[in-house]
Amino acid sequence: MKLTLSHVTKAFGQKYAVEDFSAEFERGVYGLLGPNGAGKTTLMRMMVDILTPSSGRIRLDGVDISELGAAYRDKLGYMPQEIGVYRNFTARRFLKYLSALKGIPSGEADGTIVSLLELVGLKDVADKKLGGFSGGMLRRIGIVQALLNDPKILILDEPTAGLDPQERIRFRNIVSEISGDRIVLLSTHIVTDVEFIAGKVILMREGRLLRMDTTEDLLRSVEGMVWSVTVPRREADRLKEKYDVSNIAQRADGLALRIVSAEKPLGDARPEQPTLEDVFLHYFGREAV
C-alpha cells in the first residue's frame, strides 16, 4: 500500500497553507514535525479528503483518493486535533454510532469496542457520559474511534496536545502497539512524541516540506553542531542572543547551555550527541521553540 502526495498545494486567498508538498508513505510510523502554523492540520485534512487541494493530487496505490471515495475512507482512521463528541452519549453509544457510520456490522462492533476500550484503559467507564470525561480520556476515545475499522491508514493530528507527561507516554505506547501493518502519520510540535516511535520524520515549515528522513539521518545532519557549555548568567544572556539554545539548566557554577551551532560557540564548549530537539531547533530556529 502506498500513499503518494504529488505537488499538493492549498491556498486560502493569497496565502499558501500548504505549498508544493510531495511525499510517499508506505507501512510504518511517520512523524510530521513543525511549529504551530506550519500547515500540518491543513495537510492532514487534505489527506483524509475533507479538504480539496488547490492543486496537486493525493493517490493511494495510484488512484486519486477522491475517486476512491468510500473505498478510501474504509481504510482510513482519523483523529482530529479537537475531539468532538456528543456529550450526552455514553462512550459505548458514541462508538457504536461511529461504527455504524464506518459500515461495521453491529455484532462485530460490540467486540471491537470492548477490546479497544481495554487497550486504552477506558473499559470501566464505557457506560459513562462523555460530557464527564477529562481531556486525556477524550483523547483516548479519539484514538479508539480512529481504530474502529482497523484502518490501514491512521492519521493523528496532534494526538498528545493538552496531555500530561504520563498520558503522553501512555499514548506513545498505544501508538507503538497498534502501528503494525499500517501507515501511521502523526503530527506534533512536541519532538519527544515522535522521537522514539517514528521510523521517518517529516519536517514542515510554512506549508513546505523541509526534509523527510529517518530519525538517524536527521540526527546525523546535525552531528558536530551540538555543544554544551557552562557559563555565568551574563555570558549566558550574550550566548542566547547569538546562538540557538535548546536547553538551559541551573548549575552550581552557572548556567549550563546546550547550543546548536555549526561553529564552536566557546573554546571550552563540549561536543554533544544530537537529539531530535536539536534537529528541530536547527531547522526551525528559535522562533519555533
Binding site: 479528503d49 480539496t52 481504510k75 456528543y86 461511529l98 455504524a100 457510520l101 464506518k102
Partner: protein, 252 residues
C-alpha cells in the same frame, strides 16, 4: 513516387504490445485485493448500511422529540373527535403537520459539534448519507403521524384522504423551504425561525375567512392534485442530497 491511396489499409497489426509477465499480474492482484469488499456468504445481502444508519439516527432522537410527536397525535385525535375552538380539523391539522419534520431537523442538528462532523466526514458512509438518514427519520415520523390521524377519521364526519392530502401539502411546502434553508449544513436557528414563521403565518391566514373556507371546502381530488405537485420540489430537494461525499473547497 508512391501515391498514397485514400483507402489504403492501415497495418494495425504492426503495433505490438509488450508482454506482461504472470508474476507482474499476480503482484498487481495482491495490491488490488486490498480493495476487495469484506467477505460474506452467498445469499447474504450484506449490511444494509443506510437503513441501519436511519435506525441509529432514530434512536439518537431525544425523548423530547418523541413526546412532541405523541402530543401532536393526541392533539390531532382530540381535534377530530371534539370541536377545537370551533375550527375545522381540515384547517388546524395541516398547520401542525410539518412539526415532526421541522422539529426533527432542529433535534438532529442542535448542539452538533463541528468537531464531530470532522470525524463523521471521514467515515465510510458519506456525510450526505448521514444527513439524508437524519432527514428520513423526520419524514417517516411525519408520515406516520399523518397516516395515524387519517385513520382516526374513520367514524367521524371527516375524510381521511382529504386530511392526509392537506397535511402532506403543508409538509411538502414547508419541508422544501427547510431543505433550501439548510442546504446540507446544520442550521437549527434558521429552521426554528421557519417553524415560528410558519405557525404564525398559518394562524393569521386561517383568520382570513376566504382562506379558511378554501381549506375546509377543498375537494379531495383537488387536494390530491395539489399534494402531487407539492411533492415534486420536496423530493427533488431530498434527492439532491445524494450520497456523495463533498469535501470542502475552502478551509476553515
Amino acid at each position: 513516387m508512391r501515391i498514397v491511396k485514400e483507402n489504403k489499409a492501415i497495418p494495425f497489426q504492426e503495433f505490438e504490445v509488450p508482454s506482461v509477465s504472470d508474476q507482474k499480474i499476480e503482484a498487481a492482484c495482491d495490491r488490488i485485493a486490498e480493495y476487495l469488499p469484506a467477505r460474506r456468504r452467498a445469499g447474504s445481502r450484506g449490511t444494509d448500511g443506510l437503513f441501519r444508519i436511519v435506525l441509529l439516527e432514530a434512536r439518537c432522537r431525544t425523548p423530547l422529540y418523541w413526546m412532541l410527536c405523541a402530543l401532536l397525535l393526541a392533539f390531532g385525535v382530540y381535534a377530530l373527535r371534539f370541536s377545537l375552538w370551533n375550527l375545522s380539523p381540515y384547517a388546524v391539522l395541516p398547520l401542525l403537520a410539518p412539526l415532526p419534520f421541522l422539529s426533527n431537523l432542529i433535534d438532529a442538528f442542535w448542539g452538533r459539534e463541528r468537531q464531530v462532523a470532522e470525524i463523521e466526514k471521514t467515515c465510510k458512509f458519506s456525510i450526505r448519507q448521514l444527513y439524508l438518514a437524519k432527514l428520513l427519520v423526520g419524514l417517516a415520523c411525519d408520515l406516520a403521524v399523518t397516516a395515524a390521524l387519517s385513520l382516526f377519521c374513520v367514524g367521524t364526519s371527516y375524510e381521511g384522504w382529504k386530511l392526509a392530502f392537506s397535511s402532506l401539502t403543508a409538509l411538502f411546502w414547508v419541508g422544501t423551504a427547510a431543505l433550501f434553508l439548510t442546504g446540507g449544513r446544520s442550521c437549527p436557528l434558521s429552521v426554528s425561525a421557519l417553524l415560528a414563521v410558519w405557525v404564525i403565518a398559518g394562524t393569521l391566514a386561517l383568520q382570513v375567512p376566504e382562506f379558511y373556507r378554501f381549506a375546509v371546502d377543498l375537494n379531495t381530488a383537488a387536494a390530491a392534485g395539489i399534494t402531487t405537485v407539492s411533492a415534486v420540489p420536496f423530493f427533488l430537494k431530498l434527492c439532491a442530497r445524494s450520497p456523495k461525499n463533498q469535501p470542502e473547497q475552502e478551509g476553515t
